[in-house]
């Protein structure tokens, strides 16, 4: 045993020494220069009006989970598109903070009078990160890849699916509802989409990050490994990805928009624990953190050097009734329970004020949002009257299905359920909180096993059809319509709204639909939540987009 005893002591001494020495030079200050980015500050010389740009233009964006894949069209998670948004671009792009559509890789577009032919005029001189030219052929190839399961780059055998494409364009090639009939390359910079029926949200869809354009040469080169080797036209180029750790992007020096991007590199860092992420922000190790707990907002706002970013609301958190079950088939009962909920208290206790009470299903700012809908005011007396009228003067009892996971529209479902339970209790209604594991929860509510359930929905393309068509249309049973709401009147309006290409007409239709839905009350619209992020004050021009994916090309860091 001599050997052991001899090496043990020096080692322990070394340990103590190294611990003590750690105080010396720290890399936790956050502004340390990695040595590679130091030289190129001259580039900022031209527009360096504020003069105090940081030397190291590396932004670290910390988030709770990793991306699933960097092939944006084959996944649905926000953590993937948050990253691909930097690497890839779509034909059209949304405004920085809304779903207002504008030019992207296409600088202009036309719609034929019958609303069936869309022509896009593409930017010239744009190249992909691998040097390939961006042109109409690339656009056609990408769309055909998603539509055609037999396409050579569809990679169906490797487990790729394009579910968002299917949802937005009515299925895939050969399906009845598939709206894109053909794509014609007119010349290198002009491409035409011919539809076989009108689709009101077609232009909005074109702005979605799910329908961005990948380099055709990259498909050839990487095949089904395209999900780990993304090649687009965007402001940042892919450098490396270590899973559950970080994704590193660097500036695309040849970016087609002059003067952008401002940052030299962007790092998406995974820090799963919320408190640890906040600690890292406070110690200056990261620049922006996603998923700030609403309760921490006040503290952050009072701290030097830190700031809070609010994302425009784009979701609905609701309580749905299973209308196939008694007593929720009775509109009076549904309206009564609507009157029982105190949304203001819910918002103050759970969202720290960062939410708007909901009365429509779609978020405010959306086309077709009906502000004239008179919300079911918080009125327990009225609620009890309605219950009596419905024949439930002695109250009633049901299971309140509560989500097991936090979502952007519901940061703390368990506590929310407790607040709601109290609200119902006040009108003599007993709600028993019931919860299931997440995947099971989704399956069983789809099958209609619930009485009353809590859930929500987030927008992706800023179009009302994405909410109504998926949540309340009779065709979405079984599926997203978990209330089993079947209204001919509403379905007819949803159908007309879906195909109309006249904005004013759509606005009218959806406003009418909002009123119908309001009166039928298949759900209690609770809140439109406002997700918040926190960041270092050094971060300039960062504008969170309601879709949760924003381009960082204008962002820069000051000292």
């Amino acid at each position: 045993m001599r050997k052991k005893s001899l090496w043990m002591w020096p080692l322990s001494v070394a340990m103590v020494a190294s611990l003590a020495a750690c105080g010396g030079d720290d890399e936790t200050a956050g502004d340390e220069d990695t040595g590679e980015n130091g030289e190129d500050t001259e580039e900022n010389g031209g527009d360096d009006a504020n003069g105090d740009l940081a030397e190291d233009q590396t932004l670290i964006f910390a988030r709770g989970g990793d991306s699933v894949s960097l092939d944006y069209a084959s996944v649905t998670d926000g953590e993937s598109s948050r990253v691909t948004k930097q690497i890839y671009e779509s034909l059209l792009e949304f405004d920085a903070d809304s779903f207002e559509i504008g030019p992207g890789l296409a600088h202009d577009w036309d719609v034929s009078d019958d609303g069936l032919t869309y022509t896009f005029y593409l930017e010239e001189g744009v190249t992909f990160h691998d040097g390939t030219d961006f042109n109409a052929d690339a656009v056609k190839l990408n769309f055909e890849r998603w539509a055609d399961p037999d396409h050579e780059y569809a990679f169906i055998d490797d487990g790729y699916t394009y579910s968002v494409y299917g949802t937005q364009f009515g299925g895939f090639q050969g399906d009845d509802g598939h709206v894109i009939d053909e794509i014609n390359v007119i010349d290198d910079y002009e491409v035409e989409f011919v539809l076989n029926e009108q689709l009101g949200s077609f232009i909005q869809n074109m702005g979605m990050s799910y329908f961005a354009i990948t380099s055709p040469a990259a498909f050839e080169e990487h095949g089904s490994a395209i999900n780990e080797n993304p090649v687009g036209t965007g402001p940042f180029k892919f450098v490396s990805w270590s899973r559950d750790d970080q994704i590193v992007l660097e500036k695309n020096e040849d970016y087609w928009q002059e003067g952008y991007p401002k940052l030299d590199s962007v790092i998406f860092q995974v820090i799963p624990d919320n408190s640890a992420r906040l600690t890292a922000l406070r110690s200056g190790e990261i620049d922006i953190m996603d998923g700030l707990n609403p309760d921490d907002v006040d503290a952050i706002e009072g701290e030097d050097g830190l700031t809070v970013f609010e994302r425009a609301t784009n979701n609905i958190g609701y309580l749905g009734f299973n209308m196939d079950k008694e007593p929720f088939d009775d509109v009076l009962v549904r309206q009564a329970l609507n009157h029982a909920v105190d949304k203001e208290t819910l918002i103050m206790t759970l969202f720290a004020g960062l939410a708007e009470p909901a009365k429509n299903i779609i978020p405010p700012d959306y086309l077709g949002y009906n502000d004239n809908v008179e919300e079911y005011a918080y009125d327990p007396d009225r609620a009890m009257e309605l219950l009596e009228e419905a024949g439930y003067a002695d109250g009633l009892e049901f299971d309140l299905w509560t989500m097991p996971v936090a979502r952007p529209y519901m940061p703390d479902p368990q506590r929310a359920a407790e607040v709601l339970q109290e609200n119902f209790n006040a009108i003599g209604v007993t709600a028993n909180i019931h919860t299931e594991e997440w995947a099971t929860y989704l399956e069983r509510t789809e099958q209609g096993e619930q009485d009353v359930f809590m859930l929500g929905w987030s927008g992706t393309n800023g179009d009302p059809d994405y909410f109504y068509g998926n949540l309340l249309h009779g065709d979405a049973i079984p599926g997203g319509n978990r209330t089993f709401y079947r209204s001919e009147e509403a379905d007819e309006l949803f159908n007309r709204g879906k195909v109309s290409v006249d904005e004013d007409e759509r606005d009218e239709i959806y406003k009418e639909a909002a009123q119908v839905v309001h009166e039928d009350a298949p759900m209690i619209p609770l809140v439109h939540s406002i997700p918040v992020l926190a960041g270092n004050e050094r971060v300039q021009n960062y504008v969170p987009h309601p879709s949760t994916s924003e381009s960082l090309h204008e962002v820069e860091l000051t000292e």
Binding site: M1, R2, K4, S5, M8, L11, S12, M15, S18, C22, G23, D26, E27, T28, T34, D56, T58, I60, G65, D66, V68, S69, T76, I156, D158, G159, Y160, T161, S163, G166, T167, S242, R243, D244, D245, Q246, V248, Q269, V270, I271, P272, S275, A276, R277, T279, A280, S283, E285, I286, A439, T440, L442, E443, E446, L455, W457, S458, N470, P478, G480
Partner: protein, 333 residues
């Protein structure tokens, strides 16, 4: 001894088959459909059905299990349902991260634990003994989660001495070949990065090593107390040997076997059970790999991940058993 080793290695096979069978049954008993989880709450039923078919989830369980075992026998750990990557390559960085952290935590736990235990036994009922054993008791019952967050708050946020998360400076990623950062940085000749990576190990290493350290300290102490009461210890002391020699050479050497057993078991636990530490310190290790997979019902990753952890556990126990006879030649196999 060679025969013994081979016999033990062969015993691995039924153990692993049993393991995989149990894991397979359990994860398929948990309700929840991977296709639904992968596509999220906004997916259409058609999309879910078609993904199920693609992933082979609509096959009977025993067919799925058969395919899985057939793959394993050919050295194929399968393909992740979620990332579509080969698990055998995907798992390496996670495994390296965990092993690196485990080794560091273990060095910390053994050095501190063994020495504290020895001194406590030697100076039984002294202030040192009481203090050390109270610390050990607190250490055993310490919630790692709380300890980790406190460490971050004090050493990263308030003092700014040590980094709060990750394996290296995110602004200056390490170029990997072995995925062991302390080795890779030396290969690359980046000693500044080596130092940074080392500092990243300290907080999670101590958080992870605290419980084993406490257990080792208590075990060492009780084992040493027994030895110190032996007649031969009095003899050694009587013949005038130095205290150091008495304690370490004659005392600890005879007390080491139970300590070694505990160290072996703790190592196994550390390798598989570092999930909390890995989560708080954003350490991309195998615990998180499997945890994420469970949340996503990524069956192949759960199975292969657990299989790898179990294999390591069994191998470490084997090494410990073999060490017995090296340390104490009276033990024969």
């Amino acid at each position: 001894m060679l025969a013994y080793t081979i016999r033990r290695l062969l015993m691995l096979i039924p153990v692993l088959i049993g393991m995989s069978l149990i894991t397979f049954s359990i994860i398929h008993l948990i309700p929840g459909n991977p296709a639904q989880v992968i596509l999220g709450e906004q997916a259409s039923p058609q999309a879910i059905a078609s993904l199920e078919e693609q992933l082979g989830l609509n096959e009977p369980y025993f067919v799925q299990y058969g395919n899985y075992v057939a793959g394993i026998l050919q050295g194929d750990l399968g393909t992740s349902l979620r990332t579509r990557g080969e698990i055998s390559t995907e798992i390496l960085p996670y495994l390296a991260a965990t092993i690196e952290l485990t080794i560091f935590a273990l060095i910390f736990a053994v050095i501190v634990g063994v020495n504290a235990g020895i001194i406590s036994a030697w100076r039984q009922n002294s202030m040192f003994d009481y203090t050390a054993m109270i610390i050990a008791l607190v250490g055993v019952s310490m919630p790692i989660f709380w300890l980790g967050l406190m460490q971050q708050w004090v050493f990263a946020q308030e003092l700014g001495w040590l980094p709060a998360f990750g394996r290296a400076n995110p602004r200056d990623p390490v170029e990997t070949t072995t995925y062991f950062y302390l080795i890779d940085t030396i290969i690359n000749g980046r000693f500044d990065q080596w130092w940074t990576s080392f500092k990243h190990l300290i907080l999670p290493g101590i958080a992870l090593g605290t419980i084993p350290m406490a257990i080792i300290a208590r075990m060492t102490r009780s084992s040493m107390l027994e030895v110190l009461r032996q007649d031969y210890m009095r003899t050694v002391e009587a013949k005038g040997s130095k205290t150091f020699t008495v304690i370490y050479r004659h005392g600890f050497k005879n007390a080491v076997i139970p300590v070694l057993t505990v160290v072996g078991l703790q190592t196994g636990t550390l390798l598989g059970g570092a999930l909390l530490t890995e989560t708080i310190f954003s350490w991309p290790g195998i615990g998180r790999y499997v945890y994420e997979a469970i949340g996503n019902r990524d069956y192949p990753v759960i199975q292969s991940g657990i299989l790898v952890i179990a294999t390591m556990f069994v191998l470490i126990n084997l090494v410990v058993d073999l060490l017995y006879s090296y340390i104490d030649p009276r033990i024969k196999y």
